[in-house]
Chain length 335, copies 2
């Protein structure tokens, strides 16, 4: 079934069929109904490729994320897909992994497939060296690029993020004011937002203990291997470090800290405090439940999509938007 078949059966021209298909202005109600009837009767569906060729778009957005099975990114992808679909766009998903080369490859692939825009979900897409971010700038030369939880200054690149610096700064201050001085910062990412978080922690610690180097530990294993994280903390302790609080860049790390503390015989929160990040479902999975920072992912995604749609309609849109996070207090911190 093509538009030709329909036009023939309906006794009109293909232009007319096309017009009723696209709800175009001027078609007499009579022919309109006639065409609609024929379409209905023969169950015709327009060919999206032909349409794409003519209009140069198939209303598709590329979503790139390092690992869509990661708890946080999965949620981000979910929200993004939902909101895109609600606006008539489809989502082409690309799980890129964490290497620059494969990110670049995926980016090119999406451009080849002629998506209307690309969303980079997660801060790990923006690197420290400008040169490593070239792949983003180059993509943006062709289509709008949206950054979720990262930021980068380049034409046609838009950022929506949570204020990770301030969130971590506040979390650290809270723990300090709870009377815990020996805090370990436990993190697993040097990404854009990873650095912001670390800086927030450092700033608060520097204020409380000027001139003193705070305790930080970088974990580089699997993002899901809680046992490995616990082992990592044990190793830190065994090397002689003393800490009675952990601020983690991520709920999984925080959960590992809770496990670590329990195994070491600390009472939580009396002897040991933990604060996580993302306010994911993991916060309810341990005992006591995890205090965590909610970075308002759904809001971020909503805003990101709104911005993207605005850009696609050629409206002027903010290059960068920042939302505040919020500490959700649960059982791993003192009241």
């Amino acid at each position: 079934m093509t538009i030709y078949d329909i036009s023939e059966k309906a006794g009109v021209s293909i232009a007319t069929v096309s017009r009723v298909l696209n709800g175009s202005s001027s078609v007499s109600e009579k022919t309109r109904q006639k065409v609609l009837d024929v379409i209905e009767q023969y169950g015709y569906t327009p060919n999206a490729f032909a349409r794409g060729l003519g209009l140069n778009t198939m209303k598709t957005i590329g979503i790139m994320c390092a690992d869509s099975s990661d708890l946080y990114l999965a949620k981000a992808v979910y929200y993004i897909e939902q909101k895109l679909r609600a606006s008539g766009y489809d989502s082409l998903l690309c799980c890129t992994g964490y290497e620059l080369a494969s990110k670049t490859a995926s980016m090119n692939l999406l451009i080849t497939k002629k998506v209307d825009g690309i969303i980079l979900a997660g801060s790990n897409f923006v690197y420290e060296k400008d040169q490593d971010n070239r792949y983003i700038a180059e993509a943006a030369a062709q289509i709008p690029v949206m950054l979720l939880n990262a930021s980068m200054d380049a034409p046609n690149v838009y950022s929506v993020m949570s204020d990770d610096y301030t969130s971590m700064y506040e979390a650290t201050r809270q723990m300090l004011s709870d009377g815990i001085e020996d805090i370990l910062y436990f993190y697993n990412s040097q990404s854009y937002s990873g650095k912001k978080k670390l800086a927030g922690f450092r700033a608060a610690m520097a204020e409380a203990h000027p001139g003193q180097e705070p305790l930080t530990e970088f974990y580089r294993g699997s993002h899901e291997d809680i046992h490995a994280m616990v082992r990592h903390l044990n190793a830190v302790r065994d090397k002689g470090a003393r800490f009675h609080g952990v601020i983690a860049a991520d709920d999984t790390l925080a959960l590992a800290a809770v496990k670590y503390a329990a195994e070491a015989g600390y009472r939580i929160p009396e002897d040991f405090s933990v604060i996580g990040y993302n306010n994911s479902m993991l916060t309810e999975c341990c005992e006591p439940e995890l205090t965590s920072i909610d970075n308002k992912l759904e809001t971020l995604c909503q805003h990101l999509i709104t911005t993207l749609l605005g850009i696609l309609e050629e409206r002027e849109m903010p290059k960068k938007t920042v939302f505040s996070g919020e500490i959700i207090r649960r059982g791993t911190t003192r009241k």
Copy 2:
């Protein structure tokens, strides 16, 4: 930049350009290089829409899943996307929610977008009434439909799944043989695989306690709300039910059972046992860690993709493939 521009600059015909682009057999190395040079120089990329129009495919597979932020489905989507990409296919993701109407709508949308095949990730797509599965059969009339963890008899519908019945049967037998007689089966899905699991449990219980109706509880709240699940179990207990073991259709439910038991003052596994399903990261999140059934998701996905690719190449492929699950014993069951 179109193929015409390139052909002109290179002083050849568009057919020749097309040939080098598609690595076609016979092009002299000289012209080939010339064309390649021009392409390189002008940075030309083929237009995927035009290509799609001609070939009637854009090498894209539709993935439908109810909720890609669900721990298990997120992993499934991840594996599927990875494996598809490795074979040169893109993934159009559709999070459909759990209602039939929106599933049908998404299905039609994917077909409209002319994907080469559709993967239904998760057993919730297959309903009890044949009539509710019409949307699958109708889609399959046009393109191959793959079912992950579900099964349905219809032309052009292929199923890959884990043997949930046997897994649950074995799990139940194990718990019985550990000496626990009052077992509660806790589940949240009446889907295809949901019913298989329940049947496995019932079979084992019927063997052990002929004629006795086993304890089962259906939870219908949010899949992520652990507190609500715990409340549900408390309510069951308050209604007078006695149980010292829980077999859950899902790790999240199992985690809730662990929490419930801990709050009720049971020692695990001395006084209370729990077995979950999926062997997800949640198994490591509670104390003691969760015994769970591994249903070999990655294997299933790998096989599903292999099958799909075979079908697309018009090879004969099995309509239904079943893999065995495996119990992974951890701390919530006796040794």
